[in-house]
């Protein structure tokens, strides 16, 4: 076998499922070493092999309840990177991973680029948005070891050409094992999570959804958002809110999209009653298609969308919902 790869990716496996965003990472980093906290099922191991992982390392923090001690995971990750000679570690730019990577980079004192939208591993360049996405910088990393998190849905998930899946060369290989790495026991850090409160989730996660429907101040009230919650499941969308809507109390902060909220990059972004201020645009500018519904013809959003609907959203949305329901009826 050739020398193992020095590019690593860290994937969270939740309920035995690989998140969709990990495909993008695999495609970008192939061949790579995959590091995972927790058990890796045989199916997942084979899947990872097929799509470019030549090593899979299961990280065992050697401590119970390590989820409650963020310092433990970062220390384990840092030691694993050293042990396996990982020179570049990539991850998803979600809050948990960004926190973990920042802690790990601080332990190792190596460069870290967060929330990048593209990467070229051969040349060690990254593309990172600055000033809330108003500009992008192409950054060259010249360091023997570095880490980067990539915004979900920013990398193509097309199967790279050189994987086993493409060659059709389905030779029966000995199933590659998952190597377990366990660092020596140590101090578990002083952050202790006491309690977790799960809020009821409605639909896909905002940052991972392929379609996002956002309500702005034009929704008028939190009842106005009921329309969006009715529309969302019909297109498998997540519902977002602009800062004005959150400040006015129409929606919780967890739904906020924008400079001071979440950044999303869906295939389709539908902005209802959103003025389209620069700070909101910062949170969704990389959406592939933007549709705006607003009755104000001066609204800035109309300068920034692919399809603009100058109409009262309370007239348009019910019609849209009705048509979508009719279409989905057998």
């Amino acid at each position: 076998m050739t020398t193992p790869s020095h590019t690593g990716i860290m994937i969270p496996i939740v309920n035995d499922k690989l998140p969709p965003s990990s495909l993008g990472l695999l495609a970008a980093a192939t061949p790579c070493t995959v590091l995972v906290f927790g058990p890796v099922s045989s199916d997942n191991r084979q899947y990872l092999s097929r799509y470019g992982a030549d090593r899979v390392i299961g990280l065992d923090t050697n401590r119970e309840n390590s989820e409650n001690f963020p310092g433990v995971k970062s220390r384990t990750l840092a030691r694993a990177m050293e042990a396996f000679g990982i020179s570049a570690l990539l991850g998803n730019a979600d809050p948990k991973t960004m926190d973990l990577f920042a802690r790990t980079a601080a332990i190792l004192d190596i460069p870290l680029a967060q929330d990048c939208i593209d990467i070229d591993l051969k040349n060690q360049t990254l593309v990172k948005p600055l000033y809330s996405g108003k500009l992008t910088a192409t950054v060259q990393v010249e360091a023997p070891m570095f880490m980067a998190t990539l915004r979900p849905n920013s990398l193509s998930t097309e199967t790279p050409k050189n994987t086993q899946a493409e060659t059709g060369n389905d030779v029966e290989k000995e199933e590659p094992a998952v190597e377990i790495f366990q660092p020596e026991a140590g101090d578990f850090g002083r952050v202790n999570i006491l309690e977790r409160i799960q809020s009821p989730s409605r639909g896909p996660e905002l940052t991972e959804a392929r379609v996002v429907v956002t309500g702005g101040r034009g929704m008028g009230s939190d009842q106005g958002f009921d329309l969006l919650h009715e529309l969302a499941p019909l297109v498998n969308a997540a519902v977002g809110a602009s800062r004005s809507a959150v400040d006015a109390g129409f929606a919780p902060y967890a739904m906020q999209v924008g400079q001071t909220g979440k950044t999303v990059s869906p295939q389709l972004y539908i902005a209802c009653g959103v003025s389209g201020a620069v700070q909101h645009f910062a949170g969704m500018r990389t959406s592939k298609t933007i549709v705006a519904i607003n009755k104000d013809k001066e609204a800035q959003i109309f300068n920034r969308c692919d399809i603009g609907i100058l109409a009262d959203l309370f007239q348009v949305l019910p019609v849209l919902i009705e048509r979508l329901k009719a279409r989905s009826k057998p």
């Binding site: 948990k96 040349n123 910088a137 060259q140 990393v141 010249e142 967890a254 620069v278 592939k288």
Partner: protein, 266 residues
Amino acid sequence: MKIVVCVKPVPDTGAEIGLTDTMAPDLAQIPLMINPYDESAIEEAVRIVEARGTGEIVLVTASGSPDVEPVLKTAMATGAHRAILIQTGHKTEDRGIADPRATARAMASVIQADGLPDLILTGRAAADTQGFQTAYRLAAALDFPIATEVSSLCVEGESLKMKRRRAAGNSRFSRLPCPVWYRSPKPSIPQDIPGSRISSRQRKRGSAHIPNRQGYSPAGIPDQQHNPHTGKRQSGNAHRRYHRAGRNTHTTHWPNAGNRRIKGIP
């Protein structure tokens, strides 16, 4: 109780930012403001001190921009007792990004020299560079535990109990022993003072530079203005360089530790 709040001056977050002829961010006409997330950290510090009836709040910032003092004084006016400005060679309006490792080291040495606080607060991220890491590096340098995305916190005896916001609206309650870092997620921008300050500065400088840039392209991907700004930082055995492949680049050398001065603001 001594609370240090680390703040960063950033370009006005509402301004449109274009590129100069040399492909650097065109920040010359854009006024500085305190990072909105850091403002909420200052407010939280004030809340804690007021609740306890006593305490000292010290702002710490690292910047080389000549215009940062008025911005810092405005931030102090919301309730800080002192501010320490670490003068670096890096100006916010310059090309390039200040290296988070160097910033963290500078702040760590200054904070140690001034006397370790019980609590360090800062905003969740800087609105301009959004590197999401300087606080962690500073926490590691000072050996403080760090918690992020904190939406509310209260001091309970020797430890800090906090509620943290997570993805999909989950929250957690965490407890940390003091001293500790905290990064506040929600910005709250005071509506009066910064607004009038910004408009008067714009009047002094003439109209803000509106670059001629194309808008959103129907092909689906917005026109991205590539801003490959160049900068070279010297730091041990690893450095980051920004450049545009295939064309001539020019490098800006960051100052090394010897050039940093520490200036206290009364």
